[in-house]
């Protein structure tokens, strides 16, 4: 007769090993699911972009709707872009002054401010501000149109929604971002001067003269037009997220949020890549 101890089957693995194995399996599965979702999203985005490009080359070219979107995306974003530029200029001027004074380079303040705003701060801040205002707006508007069948109604009336809704918004974003960046840059320099003048009065003319010493046209052109790429990203992702909305009002909220989050991430990523390009082509 066997003792009770000998009847207990012996485990081939310890409980800890089984737990670890199960955790590893579920982590691997989650990772692969994430990769799949990511690739699926990119594939869908590619198909969407292809549909928009195909629609774009066919008549009619939706001039009236494009003008409406230029106003909606450009004019209505101007105050917030200008305000953001002004705030950045003011803060940069105040913050960098003390450092430059410490190193005896106070006279470099206008040049440092202008260089910083035109090269990096102005374009990126404008891009991110427009991501928030326009990206969310496009995502929510098109998402709402999708769940209430308005996009289907447009299609049913023989109008291509990829052209009427998406292409016009994307082009408006591409055209308006550089102009908004110029406005933000101007406000940044202006408020940088105001901040400097509050501490040590200097004429705006002199401030600008000192600021643009050694600056060439390419210093100004490439970073500003970099924002056209930001516009392409914001418009495309906003339209894509909006037009692929599912699940009613909750889906609309999700589209608005994801439009802002994804386009902001891509704007930052594009900024890093484009800065490298600009340094290569406009040394």
């Amino acid at each position: 007769m066997l003792s009770s101890d000998t009847r207990i089957p012996r485990r081939s693995f310890s409980p800890d090993a089984e737990l670890s194995s199960s955790l590893l399996r579920s982590t691997t599965n989650s990772f692969w699911n994430l990769i799949n979702l990511f690739l699926e999203w990119f594939g869908d985005l590619g198909l969407f972009a292809w549909q928009v490009m195909r629609a774009a080359v066919r008549r009619p070219f939706e001039g009236r709707e494009l003008l409406r979107q230029l106003d909606e995306i450009g004019s209505k974003s101007l105050p917030v872009a200008a305000l953001a530029g002004a705030a950045i200029g003011f803060v940069l001027s105040l913050e960098s002054r003390s450092s430059l004074v410490r190193f005896g380079a106070k006279s470099m303040l206008p040049a440092a401010l202008v260089y910083s705003i035109i090269h990096e701060t102005g374009p990126v801040v404008t891009g991110l501000v427009v991501c928030g205002r326009v990206g969310a707006g496009i995502g929510a508007e098109l998402g709402s149109m999708k769940v209430t069948e308005q996009i289907d109604a447009i299609e049913a009336s023989g109008v291509n929604p990829y052209k009427f809704l998406a292409f016009t918004r994307i082009v408006a974003c591409i055209l308006m971002l550089p102009l908004l960046t110029l406005a933000a840059d101007f406000c940044g320099v202006l408020f940088g001067w105001i901040a400097e003048t509050l501490v040590e009065p200097v004429s705006f003319h002199r401030f600008v003269d000192q600021g643009f010493i050694g600056a060439s046209f390419s210093d100004f052109l490439a970073p500003t037009f970099r924002t056209a790429v930001f516009g392409l990203i914001i418009g495309t992702i906003g339209c894509f997220q909006g037009m692929s909305t599912k699940g009613g009002t909750a889906g609309v909220g999700l589209s608005a949020t994801s439009s802002v989050v994804i386009s902001s991430l891509f704007v930052i990523l594009a900024d890093v890549i484009l800065v490298k390009f600009i340094l290569v082509f406009f040394p």
Binding site: E141, S144, E149, A153, A156, S157, N160
Partner: protein, 272 residues
């Protein structure tokens, strides 16, 4: 060889909308819509399973059936918003499955679609909603468009609400504006997705009367998806009852009432 009716169908921009339809109000001798062996599935869920249906020009067909039997999907397949898995859809004797988008859009201009919740463009006024198809597909001047929009809105009893936004309208009013928009290009085929759903009996009756009146005036072929048996009896020449992805019964309302089929009896009993 192109059918004379198709000639009108494929070139509406060449014509003013008022001349795009022949004098018979869009009626032609052949069937307006022919569906053959239509299959449509969503994943593992089979919605249409080899469906056959014909709608003659000038005829009103009511499509009945339980929820989820593919009635709304059927309308979306006809207008090309969804693609069938297999089968054939002929609009005025022209095959539309697999048509390139430009050609499909030309066909769509000859069809009016009233969505279940009207689907009015919420950033546009009532007037702009009805004018939208006219601006896109006709060469009408703004004053001609305005006259046409006012005519259409008067025909649905909404002529005093030109400048209202869709959010300011009740469900019944939205359906009326949706109907006016669906009729703006003088379609030869009208697709109505639950025109009386969610409306009180009096407003439903008004919408039914409106559909009958417009039917008399325009003579379009209409496919009306509805759960409202009373409405179907009032407006339809013929009834198609969908069950398990196929047409279970195709006939007049009297034939439906006389049917001894178990499902038909249950369907009618529920409503009564």
């Amino acid at each position: 060889m192109m059918h004379p009716e198709q000639d009108v169908l494929l070139a509406p921009e060449e014509n003013d909308v008022t001349t795009a339809i022949d004098s018979s109000g869009g009626k032609s001798d052949g069937p307006a819509v022919v569906l053959r062996g239509l299959h449509k599935s969503f994943g593992s869920q089979v919605v249409l399973n080899g469906m056959d249906l014909t709608v003659e020009s000038g005829e009103t067909l009511a499509v009945l059936g339980r929820s989820g039997t593919g009635k709304s999907v059927l309308l979306k397949l006809i207008i090309g918003l969804q693609k069938p898995d297999s089968g054939s859809i002929l609009i005025h004797e022209q095959e539309v499955t697999g048509l390139p988008l430009d050609a499909l859009n030309e066909i769509r201009k000859k069809m009016g679609f009233l969505f279940q919740h009207a689907a009015l463009y919420d950033s546009l006024t009532v007037e702009q909603n009805v004018a939208f198809p006219l601006q896109r597909h006709t060469k009408m001047t703004p004053s001609e468009q305005s006259t046409r929009v006012k005519e259409l809105l008067a025909s649905v009893g909404m002529e005093d609400d030109l400048n209202k936004m869709p959010s300011d309208l009740s469900g019944g009013m939205q359906k009326r504006v949706g109907l006016a928009r669906a009729l703006s290009l003088k379609p030869t085929i009208l697709l109505l997705d639950e025109p009386t759903a969610g409306l009180d009996p009096i407003t439903s009756g008004e919408i039914d009367e409106l559909i009958l009146k417009l039917q008399e005036e325009h003579g379009t072929a209409s496919i009306v998806v509805t759960h409202d048996l009373h409405s179907a009896k009032t407006i339809a020449d013929r009834i198609a009852l969908l069950h398990e992805g196929k047409v279970l019964l195709d006939g007049t309302f009297k034939e439906l009432e006389k049917s001894s089929d178990k499902f038909v009896l249950e369907f009618l009993k529920r409503d009564s």
